[in-house]
Subunit: 475 residues, 2 copies
């Protein structure tokens, strides 16, 4: 068995040398089982050479996925055995809990050495989650300039552009020529690992403009930077929230933007890859909030998950009790016509579903700013129209079904009318409640569902049972 493993590993190493990229994923995009088994075996037999070779050739994202797929014990062994072949940037790609678990098990001087090798934005990403003591200890072991840069980024508020920016950039004075700039880039050793624009600054580091690299390459050597640069219209203040910064990127299709301090001095550069992460996080946040879950991670424990979900359930319990007390108003008619108890959840439930459709569209349209004061009236009108139309369709449908089911024409008429009323209430609630919350400065994704469900439950039970009481003369 061990020998087959060795042979297989041998084969794999060969393949790697030939094409230097073995696909570690299966067709579902998961880390391949046989690859995991090979790594697991190598970890057990402490085959350092094999591990180092494999870890070194993986892209940071692949390495991150591998770490997540390993058992907790294996993760630590991999980091230990791979040594300096392990690219710490991979830790920015894994779940927060796993990242902390790995970093906290490592000696601080080793973390400091790894941090020193990283881009500043990745370094900040790892440092910001550590406790203060560890963070200070690690910072203290870094070279002066590195330490000052990271401290400055860490001083900006959480989730600000300053936290996400890279502090390495290329900046030149406006009076340089294109030729001088190219010569500088050829000679200078201390450049960022990659960059797509060159910033133009005055002696006090005040941002004057920027030149895209393709512009430099198209221009003749004698042209002044001043003449080829464009004034950057969209520098991002370091204090700006990352979500707002992402909107600036989307608005102007930016690939990177200068980050400036309160005096307009260049302090870093924010790149689109960081912004893509922010955009995804924001979209995810809306989805999670609509579903009644907060900021939880898959690695959270039972207790912390339960704790984070209880508040929303508690609010829902209160609204459910409110709806139940509406039913209690009509217990007389239910006692007389028990079919009402059978049918009433249909009216309330369909209203809830229709409302959730309208609410989803509204919340999303508010988030993307597609819904605004210019078209709100028209959209409210449309939703009301849809509510009436669907109310008629489903009123007739359920009316026929109920009439046949209980051999009672009048119960069919009652439920049809109640359905129409509740579908209209659902449409209006589904759009007006998020709009109102948004106006009041409350995130509509968080709070809409509770209010909207209350409206459809109460309206559903009240209209159906109320109509029935009136019809059957039990009031």
């Amino acid at each position: 068995m061990a020998e087959t493993g060795e042979l297989e590993r041998e084969r794999l190493s060969h393949v790697n040398e030939a094409q230097d990229a073995v696909d570690i994923y299966d067709e579902d995009g998961l880390v391949r089982q046989d690859y995991l088994a090979l790594i697991g075996e190598a970890l057990e037999s402490e085959d350092v050479e094999f591990l180092r070779h494999n870890v070194a050739r993986l892209h940071e994202t692949e390495l991150g996925d591998l770490i997540e797929a390993l058992e907790p014990g294996e993760r630590h062994a991999l980091v230990r055995l791979a040594g300096d072949a392990f690219d710490f940037t991979a830790l920015t790609e894994v779940d927060e809990a796993i990242r902390l678990e790995i970093v906290e098990q490592m000696p601080n001087d080793q973390v400091a050495a790894a941090i020193g090798e990283m881009d500043s934005d990745d370094a900040v990403y790892i440092l910001e989650d550590l406790d203060k003591e560890d963070r200070e200890d690690i910072l203290a072991q870094l070279p002066f300039t590195e330490r000052v840069r990271l401290r400055r980024a860490l001083d900006y508020p959480e989730s600000s552009a300053g936290r996400r920016m890279q502090t390495e950039f290329v900046a030149v004075p406006p009076f340089w020529t294109v030729g001088q700039t190219i010569d500088y880039l050829r000679d200078e050793r201390d450049l960022p690992e990659s960059f797509s624009q060159i910033f133009v600054i005055d002696p006090t580091f005040k941002l004057l403009g920027a030149v895209d690299l393709d512009r430099i390459l198209r221009s003749t050597r004698d042209l002044k930077i001043d003449d080829v640069m464009r004034e950057t219209n969209h520098p991002v203040p370091a204090e700006m929230d990352q979500e707002e910064a992402a909107q600036v990127f989307e608005q102007y299709d930016l690939l990177s933007a200068a980050v400036v301090d309160e005096n307009g001095r260049l302090v870093g550069v924010l790149t689109i890859d960081d912004v893509v992460d922010v955009i995804q996080e924001e979209a995810e946040e809306d989805l999670m909030r609509l579903g009644g879950v907060g900021d939880e991670e898959l690695s959270d424990t039972v207790l912390s998950t339960s704790r984070s979900r209880v508040p929303w359930l508690l609010v829902n319990l209160l609204t459910a009790i409110l709806a139940a007390s509406v039913i209690a108003l009509f217990d007389g008619v239910i006692e007389k016509v028990v079919a009402l108890a059978v049918l009433m959840p249909i009216v309330a439930g369909m209203g809830g579903n229709a409302a959730s459709q309208t609410m989803t569209v509204t919340v999303r349209a508010l988030a993307t700013k597609d819904l605004d004061i210019y078209n709100a009236a028209r959209i409210i009108g449309r939703e009301a129209g849809v509510g009436i139309l669907n109310g008629v369709i489903f009123g007739v449908l359920i009316g026929v079904v109920a009439g046949l089911w209980f051999h009672d024409l009048s119960i069919g008429g009652i439920i049809a009318t109640a359905m129409l009323i509740n579908m209209l209430a659902a449409a209006l609630g589904g759009i007006l409640i998020p709009l109102l919350l948004d106006r009041l400065g409350i995130d509509p994704a968080v709070a809409s569902a509770v209010f909207v469900t209350t409206v459809t439950d109460v309206t559903g039970f009240f209209s159906f049972l109320g109509l029935a009481s009136w019809w059957y003369g039990v009031l």
Copy 2:
């Protein structure tokens, strides 16, 4: 009034000349009311100069927002009066219905002239929505090379990388030197508007590699392209779905990727700004599907909106009838203890809410590939734990409330037990159903909610009324 308008416009033009960027947005990120009023006035008085000046200085995104904020009639007047100052790329930033409305009102030769000025990816974006006849007519009026390029892109399947790619790119042979390449870039007039890498191809256009511009700028003139290029590990096949292509970008933090045909020949380049749009669309799709709405737009009519929402409501009606028939099984005990009818929606509803929490987390984790076969068992265990814990918490709570409300200890005990059972069912249904759907190749975001609600409704009513029937001896 008209004179004030003139003065105000005069003032605004002045400001523009001074800083060439007036903020057209108010603090909510909407187009400013006073700016809209000025444009509206200028449209009415056909002040061509003012309109041309204003339209020309806006970024395409700003122009798109302005178009959306205008009345339908005004939009067309703006396009007509602004003439060639109107940047057609702005149409890629507006709602599909508005885009079609504007394009279809224009003569085809005017559209062709505008298309000829655009980047190919933007041109395809506008052309692909037009009906076949108009599209062919417009293509026929374009220069030969332009036409061939656009046809090729349009031949790729909808939502493929080939549709989203830009067909303009810079490619050089591997034996050129860095110096030769720079000279070529300086002399050649027919370059893409902007680019961040140079591709390396053989005489048959087969992709050999790529060089980032910063690499060119760091290298001395005598180096061969062959020596500075990296082999692109991640070219995107033109037939690949845009969603998959977006995953490749995220996976490897790409800014742009070569698009190749089935023979590995370079046909275009896909850039991160297009990918950001895809990522947003996909996140939005998940959210909309979870909310039971399909591919609808704010500009859709009442009829088409109703039509797109009816299927989901219909499925929900069937499951609601199923749940109602469970209640009907127990009409005897409801007649005897009418409090059951009052309380039963609480049990079902709380189960539905708890399930929607679990389901949201599961669907999102499946979409981001955070949930996979390696951790599924652990996460299922965690959800079951949360279900039991929350079931105990809310069981006790509602048990006490119900017992006090109806002065009946036994009804408190019954609802507490039913709540615990249903919360556990909600947790298991909320995670197992999306997992199962995903395994079966069905999008869990679309179908989960219906099945999960059915589980919690049926379990809620059955456990609560079943327990009550047994306790009160009505079976």
